[in-house]
């Protein structure tokens, strides 16, 4: 009896696996990858889950849902390391112990926790060059991704503090010079690079940076203004390829946004299916320029889709600037509840997916998940054309 039940369970599991593997091939997208990886986790086949997830992240590096699953798996994998690092801090606190814990948070993608850990370490060891350097690296990493001015200003403050504590620390000096150069402050960069070259005249990287710094015309503006210019144009003041150390601390496997060839017919089909699955009344997808790429609505719901699209676009556009200024990062989603029901706007790589539903709070979570799934499956599974090259002065993150 027991054997028969176990055998049936195993057969069903294998059948489900085959079905999910087939779904990954037939309807590629973050949802099918996530479902298959979750299935393997459920069956305790962790290696297989990681393998599927890695492949998925390679195909859809911008998928928020796959990133969250990756974080979950990494946290479980690193549980022992987290425990040990926390115990080290309690047993014998040192800057290295705090830096190790911060590094683990960085690995799982929790930058806020990593910064918090460094701050806790600096409260105990206020003269630790390593912790100031760690904070600077974390802030630079965030700045390179989100271009929030405060991150750049705090990165500089921490690097300057580290440099004042140890003038001869090469990692600090070179990162400070690179970051000054990155924001267009060539004069302080030249000063630091000359110092590095006095102690090591054969340093080829410092020589290259010095050449680049001498080519950049010095602007007589406060650092805060230079940072704001870089944040506004969302690109560094010099060619990022020469910023080797910044590249090292910002690299996290994520790619530039890309232009995509989205299949509007498929998108329309997916929206129609999503309308049924979520009880939504209307849904629309807007391309990064703000035009409607696809829309679907219930026949008995007479909404003006153009007005609906304008509403979604304005909500995104008008709040994104403020969230960046407030250090909250870029707009990901907005959910509005009122007497009419629920209005959701999701941002995926600059594309906006808006939906309106008579949802009650009890199925808010279901609606939210479904909308994100549709958004990611529509956009991220579409073939890439080329990386988006932002024109000077353009804010690529604003999307629509």
């Amino acid at each position: 009896m027991y054997n028969s039940a176990t055998r049936n369970k195993a057969v069903n599991t294998r059948r489900l696996e085959k079905m999910l593997v087939r779904a990954c091939k037939e309807t590629p997208g973050p949802t099918s990858v996530e479902t298959l990886a979750e299935h393997y986790l459920h069956c305790y086949r962790f290696d297989k889950a990681r393998e599927v997830l890695d492949e998925g992240l390679h195909k859809y590096p911008q998928s928020q849902r796959l990133r969250l699953l990756e974080q979950r798996i990494k946290r479980t994998d690193l549980y022992g390391d987290f425990l040990k690092a926390s115990q080290d801090i309690s047993a014998s606190p040192s800057p290295d112990a705090y830096a190790s814990l911060a590094a683990l948070y960085r690995v799982v993608g929790d930058i806020d926790k990593a910064l918090e850990t460094c701050a806790a370490g600096l409260a105990v060891f206020p003269n630790s060059v390593r912790l100031y350097l760690n904070v600077a690296e974390l802030r630079i990493r965030r700045f390179a991704k989100n271009f929030m001015p405060k991150d750049a200003v705090l990165a500089l403050a921490n690097l300057e503090k580290a440099a004042s504590l140890n003038e001869n620390d090469y990692a600090v000096s070179i990162l400070l010079a690179e970051f000054y150069l990155a924001i267009g402050a060539s004069e302080p960069a030249i000063g630091i690079l000359k110092k590095i070259l006095v102690s090591n005249p054969s340093d080829e990287h410092a020589q290259k940076l010095l050449e680049a710094a001498l080519e950049v015309s010095q602007k007589d503006e406060p650092v805060e203004d230079l940072v704001r210019d870089v944040a506004h144009s969302r690109r560094m003041a010099v060619n990022p390829a020469i910023l080797r150390y910044i590249e090292k601390c910002t690299h996290d496997g994520e790619r530039l946004p890309v232009e995509r060839s989205v299949d509007t017919d498929r998108m329309r089909e997916m929206l129609a299916a999503a309308l049924n699955a979520t009880d939504a009344l209307a849904m629309a997808v807007l391309d990064p320029k703000g035009a409607i790429a696809a829309a679907a609505q219930r026949e008995d719901y007479p909404i003006d889709i153009d007005a609906f699209a304008v509403a979604a676009r304005e909500i995104h556009h008008n709040t994104n600037d403020y969230t960046l200024r407030m250090d909250l990062g870029s707009f990901q989603s907005g959910e509005i509840e009122g007497p009419f029901g629920h209005f959701l706007v999701n941002n995926v790589e600059g594309w906006l997916i808006g939906g309106i539903t008579p949802a009650t709070p009890s199925n808010r979570e279901r609606m939210r998940k479904r909308m994100l799934a549709v958004a990611e499956d529509c956009i991220l599974a579409a073939p890439q054309i080329k990386p988006v090259e932002a024109p000077p002065g353009a804010d690529t993150d604003k999307g629509a």
Binding site: D110, Y322, T323, R325, M326, Q332, E337, G338, P339, F340
Partner: protein
Amino acid sequence: MRDTLINLNQVMGINGSMLVTRDGMVIASELGKGLEEDAVAALATSVIRTTRDALKKIGEKGFSLFILTASFGRLVLLEAEIAYLVVVTERTINIDATILEMQSAVRQIRKKARITVKD
């Protein structure tokens, strides 16, 4: 009002809260470290104005709840009759569970506002 905000801020994942009128006047605020009152009030006012205007376009009047999710945090606005309760939270919290705490704070604010008006 401030006591209600202080109590609300005890909930894990909440970084600060404030009460702001539709036109951006701050009634009370209890914001955590790193949050500037002017910046939060400006964002809240912009969200309120933009959302009301956007909803008008589709023939709707107002909203009772707005959850804005950004890369590193969330901003939640709840209508509290006299004003909006604005709450800044961490990105990773269970928002649906935390909203219950916020709704409880809104009820207290409404009650206190009525008592103040009667006095």
